[in-house]
């Protein structure tokens, strides 16, 4: 099939950036969206132009590196998939596709479609862990049984891949779904219990400091999330944060 691509080009963080139009041909329905981008880039290199920079790595939907706004939707039109798992059979011959980077103050553009998501790392560093040393002398793994339901819920929250689609989809550029997924996972497990208060307070504070917006319960984040992380986590984080705030000395 033949397509017209309208792609955001921006040479660096200081550049103003603009949409540019590129035709591509010979696109097969079996190609992934990123393989279609590879075809475009090969073409640009041949023409002596600079290829479009985009983030990608595992190309099997788990590393969380790929990050594109496709026709106004994070990771494109399909539910529950990342850009790398979106295939060209979702498009028709002659389509025009708009491709843009994540848009959020806390995710500055590095180049073209590549953004800086280090704010997510700093949020995890502020408390997204259990303070246990890697001594190998912890207690036996089966010494603390965990109710299956809680273990499963913790797992569901823990499947977040940190791609940032939630932020990109939110009209407030809020990172609540990302932060709540980690807060939830650790508050549902006995291992996370001792630090639950400081964790909720610190991670929320760091999120605010990074310039993410607030949550107004529109739920777009969860709809666009490639791992379909539930909104329930945000509610749980709000409870954790509130409890921690009122019981703080």
């Amino acid at each position: 099939m033949k397509l017209t691509l309208k792609i955001w080009r921006q040479s660096g963080p200081e550049d103003k950036g603009a949409m540019k139009t590129y035709p591509v041909e010979g696109i097969d329905g079996d190609m992934s969206f990123l393989e279609m981008m590879d075809v475009l880039n090969e073409q640009l290199i041949e023409q002596g132009e600079e290829p479009v920079a985009f983030d990608h790595d595992c190309r099997e939907g788990i590393c969380g590196m790929c990050s594109m706004y496709i026709n106004g939707q994070a990771h494109g039109p399909k539910r529950g998939v990342t850009t790398c798992q979106l295939h060209m059979r979702s498009f028709k011959d002659g389509d025009t596709i708009y491709i843009e980077p994540w848009r959020s103050k806390a995710f500055p553009v590095v180049k073209d479609l590549v953004v800086d998501r280090s704010s997510f790392d700093r949020i995890i560093q502020s408390g997204g862990f259990v303070s246990v040393n890697t001594s190998g002398n912890t207690i036996d793994a089966n010494a603390t049984p965990i109710e299956k339901e809680n273990a499963d819920k913790a797992f569901d929250a823990a499947t977040c891949i940190g791609c940032g689609a939630c932020v990109a989809s939110c009209k407030n550029a809020s990172a609540m779904l990302f932060v709540s997924a980690k807060v939830s996972q650790l508050s549902l497990l006995p291992q996370g219990d001792p630090e639950r208060k400081s964790r909720a307070l610190n991670m929320v504070n760091q999120m605010d400091e990074e310039g993410f917006g607030n949550c107004t319960n529109t739920g777009a984040c969860s709809v666009e999330c490639p791992k379909e992380i539930s909104l329930e986590n945000i509610a749980r984080m709000n409870r954790e944060f509130l409890k921690a705030s009122v019981s703080k000395e």
Binding site: E50, R59, E60, Q125, F129, T134
Partner: protein, 667 residues
């Protein structure tokens, strides 16, 4: 260079690690603050090593080329992690895990290292649970296990099909905690360009900031490479796009021996190549072979009809199907080990029985499992005369509960629904057992240079068992390296910070700059991928699942030619002083073009078949691998020597005290 010293401790296998820990030198806590360690890569091995070293008090600098350490390719591991916990009371033990690993590796790994891996495996599970890793649990709240290929016990811990992700996020959280404390400085979007040697010791690296293109000098008292495997030398593999050999290869060129490069694992069940545009391959977990039956049509006209889409798998009658694994290996059937299953698929496709347009695909069929489960369900539901439709419906529900996420992924990629038609699968490059040679302390033959995880060669011999890669990465990073590195660093407590203004750093940086300039100013006509694809094709055709002398010699010649062509005609757009992914890729492919040659040389030199290395000249009458323990029970450690195929071979003889060498048979 001196003779290879594995520094294996004395005494019985089961006492070696304990004795060794008691014997080696330690660094006191106050002195650890004076010592800097560099860790390259943040997968399971790298994140766990960086976090553990920082907890102990060393100053750590960690580097990854991705935008955050959490993206390293360990994240994509599906199946699980082995540990000799014996929670199922099915007779598992440290010795049994050790024995399975040695045997699975076709007796080509070092006994002492493999035993230690089994010994610390149980601690890994305790550690990960303490970090909040949400492993699967049963209704009693205790940890669940499942079985994996090639073993007789249930020792695999898992978190659905995302075990690698959960373990990596656990290690990443431990790393993040140390970053917050200031004990680890994290350098993301940075690539190691070279190791810097001072007075014969590794004393730092030259790194490139991938955003600005700037070269940076980083000094340290030791450098730890956790940079993963080199499967991408084949262009198409299940590795991530960025996975590369460059860090290990640079170390090799600075004197570190590269061991057993030809030991590559080709995983039998991956989604086949669909066309020339393909950029990577996707694995379908080994667990599918528990219920799926592998077959191709008996008649070539049926294969043709399937390719032309005039017939589908379900149209081929039972008597016209060749369940070739069940035919050739009646006792193990579809559950033969990975290397055997892969070669058998290739044999059928080479004979012209492939079932997709490239001719390289076989069926993995769940139809009989669906009926079998459906009938069981009918019994459970107490339905006396179920209809065919009911049986299939119930059967599909059972299969969904077991493999739902894999079936979804398959459908996403191929647009075929495996609940209703057979999957098409084909082997693909998945893991590399070879890597930098290391001693018992995980130090390469270069003082101060260490290698952990997939980057080293030590634990899996010629073939790795499923669910053992995660185990090794975390064992090395959490529990082995943090102890053993102290023995070396104890001599460095008075060295002081490494001066990066000295000549060695200047020279190394200059060499890196020269190479980058050459790539960027080359003004050729062909893209980096053009050369990478050509290399991949030679590797796959001649150094892949089956190798022979003529093919390997041709491969060495062809790779040399591609490399020359690359340096003449490669075109790298953009500038060296900016974010430029094409330039990053060019450097990596240039290194693959050298490694590929050594890889083929190693395969040529090893005149036997073992594990993932199959030489057509060395097989039994039935087409099975023929090992030669008299001549080849050694580790081939290669010393760099200008031209990769002229590398100098050093042999570490493997001695087996506790296991008896046997021929693997799955008939």
């Amino acid at each position: 260079m001196a003779k290879l010293k594995s520094v294996t401790p004395k005494g019985a296998l089961k006492d070696q690690w304990t004795n060794h820990k008691n014997d080696i030198n330690l660094v006191n806590p106050a002195n650890k603050r004076l010592i800097d360690v560099i860790v390259i890569g943040t997968g399971l091995a790298g994140s766990s090593a960086a976090a553990s070293l920082a907890e102990m008090g060393y100053n750590v600098k960690a580097f990854c080329f991705q935008d955050t350490p959490r993206r390293a390719h360990s994240i994509a591991a599906q199946g699980g992690i082995n540990a000799a916990k014996n929670y199922q009371n099915d007779g598992d033990s440290t010795f049994r895990l050790f024995y399975d690993t040695i045997k699975g590796g076709d007796y080509r790994s070092r006994e002492s290292n493999t035993y230690r891996l089994a010994e610390v495996s149980a601690n890994i599970i305790d550690q990960c649970v303490a970090q909040g890793v949400p492993f699967a649990r049963d209704y009693g709240g205790l940890l669940d296990n499942r079985s994996f290929g090639g073993v007789l016990v249930s020792r695999t811990f898992y978190a659905k099909g995302q075990t690698g992700q959960q373990l990596l996020l656990g290690a990443y959280s431990a790393l993040s905690r140390q970053v917050a404390k200031g004990k680890v400085t994290m350098y993301t979007r940075h690539e190691m360009m070279d190791v810097v040697m001072v007075d014969g010791k590794a004393r730092g690296i030259i790194a490139r900031n991938l955003i600005t293109g700037e070269l940076e000098r980083h000094g340290a008292h030791a450098v730890v490479l956790c940079s993963g495997g080199y499967g991408n030398v084949f262009f198409l593999s299940t590795n991530a796009m960025g996975s590369n050999v460059s860090a290990a290869w640079k170390a090799h060129k600075k004197g570190a021996y590269f061991a057993n490069p030809c030991y590559t694992q080709i995983h039998p069940t991956c989604i086949p190549v669909s066309g020339d545009h393909q950029s990577k391959l996707t694995l379908m977990s080994e667990s599918l072979r528990n219920d799926g039956r592998i077959w191709v049509p008996k008649k070539k006209e049926d294969c043709k009809a399937i390719i032309e889409k005039s017939k589908r798998a379900e149209d081929i009658p039972e008597e016209d199907r060749d369940y070739y694994l069940e035919r050739r290996y009646p006792s193990f059937g579809n559950l033969v080990p990975r290397d055997v299953a892969s070669r058998a698929a290739k044999e059928r496709c080479d004979a012209g029985f492939g079932v997709n347009k490239t001719g390289n695909a076989v069926f993995l069929d769940f139809a009989s499992a669906i009926v079998r489960y459906g009938k069981l369900e009918a019994n459970i539901k107490n339905v006396k005369n179920p209809t065919d439709k009911q049986i299939k419906e119930w059967g599909r529900a059972v299969v969904k509960s077991k493999y739902g996420n894999l079936f979804d992924m398959y459908k996403q990629i191929t647009d075929d629904d495996p609940y209703f038609t057979a999957m098409k699968i084909y082997p693909a490059v998945h893991y590399t057992m070879g890597g930098l040679w290391v001693d018992y302390n995980l130090m390469t033959n270069v003082p101060g240079l260490y290698a952990c995880g997939e980057a080293n060669f030590s634990d899996h011999g010629a073939n790795r068992l499923g669910a053992s890669a995660l185990m090794q990465g975390l064992a090395d990073g959490y529990f082995v390296l943090p102890y053993t590195i102290g023995d070396y660093l104890s001599k460095d407590i008075r060295t002081g910070a490494i001066d990066t203004e000295q000549k060695a750093f200047e020279e190394a940086e200059q060499n890196v700059q020269t190479r980058i300039d050459k790539l960027i100013n080359n003004n050729g006509t062909k893209s980096v991928d053009h050369f990478h694809k050509r290399l991949g094709k030679v590797m796959w055709d001649k150094v892949g699942m089956a190798r022979n002398e003529k093919g390997l010699k041709d491969a060495i010649k062809e790779i040399t030619e591609i490399r020359e062509d690359f340096w003449k005609n490669v075109k790298v757009p953009g500038s060296a002083n900016a974010f430029n992914p094409e330039l990053d890729k060019a450097g990596r492919v240039a290194d693959f073009l050298e490694l590929g040659e050594l890889f083929a040389q190693d395969a040529l030199d090893r005149k036997e078949s073992c594990g993932g290395h199959f030489r057509e000249e060395y097989q039994t009458k039935e087409g099975e691998a023929l090992r030669d323990d008299k001549k080849y029970a050694y580790v081939a450690a290669w010393e760099y020597n200008e031209v990769p195929s002229k590398a100098k071979l050093h042999k570490e003889e493997l001695t087996f005290k506790e296991v008896e060498l046997k021929t693997r048979s799955y008939k």
